[in-house]
Symmetry: C2
Subunit: 199 residues, 2 copies
């Protein structure tokens, strides 16, 4: 498990051959229970590392295409699973709680709903006002820059653009940790603004 820009935030990654980029999962280590976001399968080494860092109490899934190894990890650890409320009728994984726009998941971690993406109400998570963790809508194809999911995949481009512009308007973001593609650990807010202006 790789250290991020914060001493309490880790990532693990799997290279995706179809898209020629890495998928990432994130772990926030905190008192009161660690949070994992969009968990990919863990190697034996990373699983051991996770245990050493305190295991996992909460798994947050940003959208139904990012369930990944959630069921396996929840089964092994007993972690509670949180999913996007807009998908609750059809979500492929049993969730203990559904997250709504603006909701505090645990102290310091907020959920925001993005509209118009390929799944209804995809979540983006904001950690202590400064680190944004995204699922699919906001992503990185060329390192150092952010892009939006390709138009062909969007349910409603206008709504998607509104959602990106809203997130970009949040002050103080400096890291944007993408689920897909190189994370932006510094100057992520600038990249978000640049993306929002380009849409």
């Amino acid at each position: 498990m790789k250290l991020s820009h914060r001493k309490d935030l880790f990532a693990w990654s799997v290279f995706n051959e179809e898209r020629d980029l890495d998928f990432h999962s994130y772990l926030w280590v905190r008192e009161g229970g660690n949070v994992v976001i969009d968990p990919l399968p863990l190697s034996a080494h990373d699983h051991k590392h996770l245990q050493k860092l305190g295991g996992v109490d909460f798994i947050v899934i940003t959208n139904s295409d990012h369930c990944r190894a959630t069921e396996q990890l929840a089964g092994q650890t007993g972690a509670a699973v949180y999913g996007p409320s807009a998908e609750q009728e059809t979500f492929p994984v049993i969730c203990d709680r559904w997250l709504y726009d603006g909701e505090e998941i645990v102290p310091g971690l907020l959920a925001y709903q993005l509209n118009g993406s390929k799944t209804p109400g995809e979540l983006a998570l904001l950690l202590e006002h400064t680190t944004l963790i995204t699922g699919d809508l906001i992503r990185c194809h060329q390192a150092g820059e952010l892009c939006m999911l390709p138009d062909a995949k969007l349910a409603d481009r206008k709504l998607a653009i509104q959602s990106v512009k809203r997130i970009a308007s949040f002050p103080g973001i400096h890291a944007v940790l993408t689920g897909d593609g190189w994370p932006l650990f510094v100057h992520g807010g600038e990249a978000l603004h640049h993306l929002a202006r380009s849409l």
Copy 2:
């Protein structure tokens, strides 16, 4: 193979369990022959991708601990192998050319010698004045920041610091692509200055 911050520059990576970080290799696609730096083993998929991007004509090794899959790749492709001149007496891989400080490897790609590292005369490469590619001495342990190889591994800390400060003094660097740990695709020059000031 993952696109970097430049359309002509790619990376592939392997997670290292001992250090809990990714090792990276880089490919510069150019007319006149592609250059690969410190090649890790390639998956079948990445090997096919490499071929699609024009294969490889030159392999540059920054230091003898980064030979990695050079012999295999050179054997498969017939690429010429370039190594650091300071290691020519004992280098574990046969090289077609030894690189000296300040030398132009191919047009637009310069080699610089770093002293005091764990191997003599480790190379750092500067691509078109803006992208620095490093081997071991300059690395990333915490994302978004650069650090120097731990003191215990250095042959001569004073010389190593001098070398880092010299590289940091080059104007116009904006990306620092580390062999070990998260690459810095933006604001890498700032991170280099920060590192140099901290030493």
